[in-house]
Subunit: 427 residues, 2 copies
């Protein structure tokens, strides 16, 4: 791992993965093909990219039940408990409509409504992520979205992974399409014979999925653009170096570009963690991926004190932040840029990845500077409410008309003045 | 205006203005130039596009005070009252951090923090929109954003309009840069010698501004992509045709592509409104713009009853919606896609454009399907909080590890199991 002892955080400016122009062109042409050829294009690309001849894009109820029956009982139980925790947490996020009489004759407010339809992208291929189904779809269901569609590429055996289908069944999502990549995003945005278009697309995916989401943004809504993910751990010598090393590795095993970062006030502790990482790394099944992450992206950053550690974290704006110091709440109060904050030495990051309840779809790559984890608010919107009485309009009409006229918008002024008693109509 | 009597809303599919590839290339090259040449590029483009030789990009305090002194007293008063109303409304939107012990040893929550810095784009050129300053910046200030930057292109006289500077002074925004177009967006996203980069860029602009916002999206946050705007009025014969016509025209005078829409259950009333629109149109200073809007974009849609009217509105998802029927609340309850809803015959749209308090930066072009007006939540983000005790980890560790292992993420399982007492470490 790279040691940083001088506070130089220039590595942050190099985090972004720039998409090659070739990839962008390829995504644009996939989207154009899906727009014009619909399902046929989806099948062609699935053949080309996933090596699968699709009979039908939609997964049948029967296939879902069969898939669930192949998932071990213990895992089904864990999925059920996780779903329940995730639902409970997100139910606390539901905003309420309100109106208020702010002055005599003036009612203002907000009407909160759910989106009509959303698409959730679940990564596939060699992986099987039922947790992505729960994290992507439950907030939408809690928000009250009527139509929740899952898309995921088929695996080598020609099907979406059993666990993914089992998780969908558990939470009551029944519209599942076996298609991935940029072609799936295009189908969700513009529709095909099999897939009706949606209002918003969420969920992480590979570079092509991300480029496609950016491409369709504006025609439909998307969540944030996912990039390489990070864990930052602030720990001191009161923490167990072996636990912290394991947490760093849990992030490292995701992806070669994942960035595991230790921020510590103790050089001795940093050395211990580094040794533990190197030891545990060799025993991991995904040693190859984790090694690339640890050795090319891993950082150990020395900070003079808690304040400096917090300042470093706020610059990094990590997706995941663990605080495993003597008094984690002290640093917690200083943090303002982090996706999910794990407090105390028992709050290992995987507790949140699967189970605790908060979402695991979290802003990556420094975007916690300006974005939040996926949540119910990602699936609702609100309308402003304005109700003026006759009296309120008479009382304020002159000011409104003066303002409008000053902006050169005479039609605006007149619309108000027409309603005013005894007003002079200009023009 | 075009009459639609058969419920065919195909015009909605043609609303989007497709950007020409040429415009996209031009925006990409402007952004690249600002990235590499900084202020020099900003000055070159301002010379090229606005015809102005800029000495300095930043507006001085002195210039702001001088500008404010040239604004009529009545307008300053209206700006002050509007600012106060807008502040009061947005203060109701501020979300609170929370934590809760959801089970023995399990604390979950959300920490709400403001963005560090934001840029507000204020359209300029021939127009002068102090209301855009109030609507863009006040929610950011209420959210607690420390650095709020305004950018606006200089007018022909070489300065940003007096009213814009006066509004900024009124609300306490002092970092104002005279630069517009794609170059301003690039400067806010990537920084120059004069302009430090921001975390988020908001505010409407022309096609180039919109393309630039889409281009930089992902490196910084943006609000939605503004397109042509709409007003839809649902009115019946209890409304005053002349008032409704004036309201439709207040939208029409904005832009040739603005879409004024009347939805009514009464053909006779529709005919009256149409005649009134044609009459009042001729008396408007911006008759040329308003005519293009009315005759090319304007619609009168006949609906069988209130339910059908609401269904039409939900398909349109208009930026502005006026309900001027016998019982506006009856239709209000059926509406789920609209940016701002004006209830009752005295609630003319300009009341909200300037004064009432809710934001006038509202999703356009049907994006009220999935987006909300600009608000405090546009300038905050939250971090999830997860705190598990030793006991909570022991109680749930097995389920978490089983779930992780099922997903093929052994490192995740081990990070949890390391903390478990008497657990078998696999692998």
């Amino acid at each position: 791992m790279e040691w940083i002892k001088d506070g130089n955080l220039d590595f942050l400016n190099k985090r972004k993965v720039e998409a090659k122009e070739e990839a962008q062109k390829s995504v644009a042409s996939i989207i154009a093909a899906v727009k014009s050829d619909g399902d046929e294009a989806l099948k062609n690309y699935t053949k080309q990219f996933d090596g699968i001849d699709l009979d039908s894009i939609r997964v049948t109820e029967e296939a879902m039940h069969e898939a669930a029956s192949r998932v071990p009982e213990q895992v089904l139980k864990a999925i059920k408990q996780a779903a329940s925790n995730i639902r409970a947490f997100h139910e606390k996020q539901v905003p309420k409509s309100w109106t208020e009489t702010v002055k005599e004759g003036v009612v203002l407010g907000q009407k909160v409504t759910a989106l009509d339809s959303v698409g959730v992208y679940v990564p596939g291929g060699t992986a099987c992520y039922p947790s992505s189904v729960l994290m992507g779809a439950i907030p939408a269901l809690v928000a009250g979205v009527k139509r929740v569609v899952l898309v995921s590429p088929p695996q080598k055996n020609g099907w979406i992974a059993d666990g993914v289908l089992a998780a969908a069944l558990e939470i009551g999502v029944h519209e599942i399409d076996q298609v991935g990549g940029a072609q799936a995003i295009a189908a969700l945005a513009y529709g095909t014979e099999s897939i009706k278009p949606v209002d918003k697309i969420v969920g992480p995916g590979n570079l092509y999925v991300m480029l496609a989401k950016k491409h369709v943004f504006g025609d439909v809504a998307i969540d944030s653009l996912a990039g390489p993910s990070e864990i930052a751990v602030v720990a001191d010598e009161t923490a167990d170096a072996s636990w912290i090393a394991a947490d760093l590795l849990s992030q490292a095993e995701h992806d070669r570009l994942s960035m595991p970062i230790l921020v510590t006030t103790s050089e001795a502790f940093g050395i211990k963690v580094e040794k533990e990482v190197e030891k545990q790394l060799q025993e991991l099944p995904r040693v190859e991926i984790a090694s690339a992450s640890v050795y090319k992206q891993g950082k150990i950053i020395l900070a003079a004190d808690g304040h400096e550690a917090a300042a470093v974290i706020n610059r990094i704006a990590p997706e995941h932040l663990e605080l495993a110091t003597r008094d984690p709440h002290e640093i917690f109060d200083l943090i303002h840029n982090a996706g999910a904050i794990f407090l105390g030495k028992y709050s290992s990051e995987p507790v949140g990845d699967y189970f605790a309840g908060p979402n695991h779809i979290i802003p990556t790559n420094g975007s916690a500077r300006y974005a939040s984890p996926l949540g119910v608010e990602s699936f609702i919107k609100h309308s402003s409410i304005i109700e003026y009485s006759d009296e309120a309009l008479q009382a304020n009409g002159q000011a409104i008309a003066a303002f409008a006229r000053f902006e050169g918008l005479e039609g605006h002024a007149r619309a108000v003045e027409k309603r005013m008693k005894g007003a002079v109509i200009h023009g």
